[in-house]
Symmetry: C2
Subunit: 218 residues, 2 copies
Amino acid sequence: MSERRADTIADTLEEMIFTGAFNDGDRLDETRLAAQFNVSRTPIREALGRLVASGLAEQIPRRGVFIRQPGPVELLEMFETMAEIEGVCGRLAARRISEPALADLDAANALCTAAIEAGDTDAYYRENERFHHRIYREAGNAFLEQEALRLHRRLKPFRRMQLRVRGRMAQSMAEHEAIVAALREGAPERAAQALRAHVAVQGEKFHRLLSGLRRAAE
Amino acid sequence: MSERRADTIADTLEEMIFTGAFNDGDRLDETRLAAQFNVSRTPIREALGRLVASGLAEQIPRRGVFIRQPGPVELLEMFETMAEIEGVCGRLAARRISEPALADLDAANALCTAAIEAGDTDAYYRENERFHHRIYREAGNAFLEQEALRLHRRLKPFRRMQLRVRGRMAQSMAEHEAIVAALREGAPERAAQALRAHVAVQGEKFHRLLSGLRRAAE
DNA sequence: ATTGAAAATCTTGTATACAAAATTCTTGAC
DNA sequence: GTCAAGAATTTTGTATACAAGATTTTCAAT
């Protein structure tokens, strides 16, 4: 890996931000964090630099770096962007996907369904992620894949919010099946459309997302 | 702006990378750069961190950071991704664009055409950029807009290569007109299609790009 | 001459020291 | 009591010092 301290610290801080250990606007005090991590300010600064670069925090020149949690508007924008990028991946994948990959998507869906029946939420998230990541991969564009993974990762902490709606998981699985069907038939636009609709935040999901945000803001 | 030295140094280094002052694989020696910029290693390290974060360089743990110029494959992937993102912006913009924005696009096109006739390449690039940036804006999604701008900026140094083809500028303008027409009619898919085709690298452009790369590699 | 090991050198990563800027606190005037 | 100006204190940004790991060089043995 990279420079030992600085990077593990950055990972830890990211995790803390994702799990809500900080509130929007909180200042990340270098000296305090240095003491907290039993380390000098130098690796802390490098870690903070990484957070700023990935948009999790904001740096004001001679003032410090502050946590920057996305508000409702930005969150919707990020989800819309994710939906569009997934749509793009789907459109490209419909033309490029291989037979083993289709089998793999089917397998992921089967495991997803099993996880729902078993009530195993962790397994569900894991297989759901595998499904989506596989589609990014099958777009056949490593750069696009990286971008998709980046955004997917960024949205991870917010994705759980929107899956709590009753029956959402079952509906989600039906959508997965439709997506695979479109990919299998090599229907680019239908695949794109199905993925966009699957990822987009709308209706009940929207309300859930907002109330989740409101709760997190307290 | 941000921390004075570190950020101006990062900007300078980015510019140097873009203008080809470094070759792929070159090591960015901290002490050498420190001497060169008349500064200590600390701001250099922060600047290098920024380069690594934006993908312009690669960091190998206890070895240093190295310039990482995209090869032909990655470049094509980046252009394909750009084409798709522009397509997305166009699709969204077709539903959201305002009348003044359409007028602005027309204005940019007029100035573009004038620049071609005057042989003013700089003006052409400027107005062409204004055209595209305006479409990103009119997608009505600030997050997506930032992503589009980021990638557009990243590809800037390579874009000039592909515009040298004889008659390409005139054809490009015709495509711009078609794009505006689709946006004006509120035809999302046609706008998306037109933008994808406009940005995509294909045929003669492809050869130009490759030979440009080959030349740059010497 | 080639190969291998050990020492010397170089380079990164971290800690500490210093400087400049910003914020906070104090003090005085109204 | 409020407000403002200036001093004191924090805090960031930069420089330097030190430590650990990596690379290169040296030198001997085969």
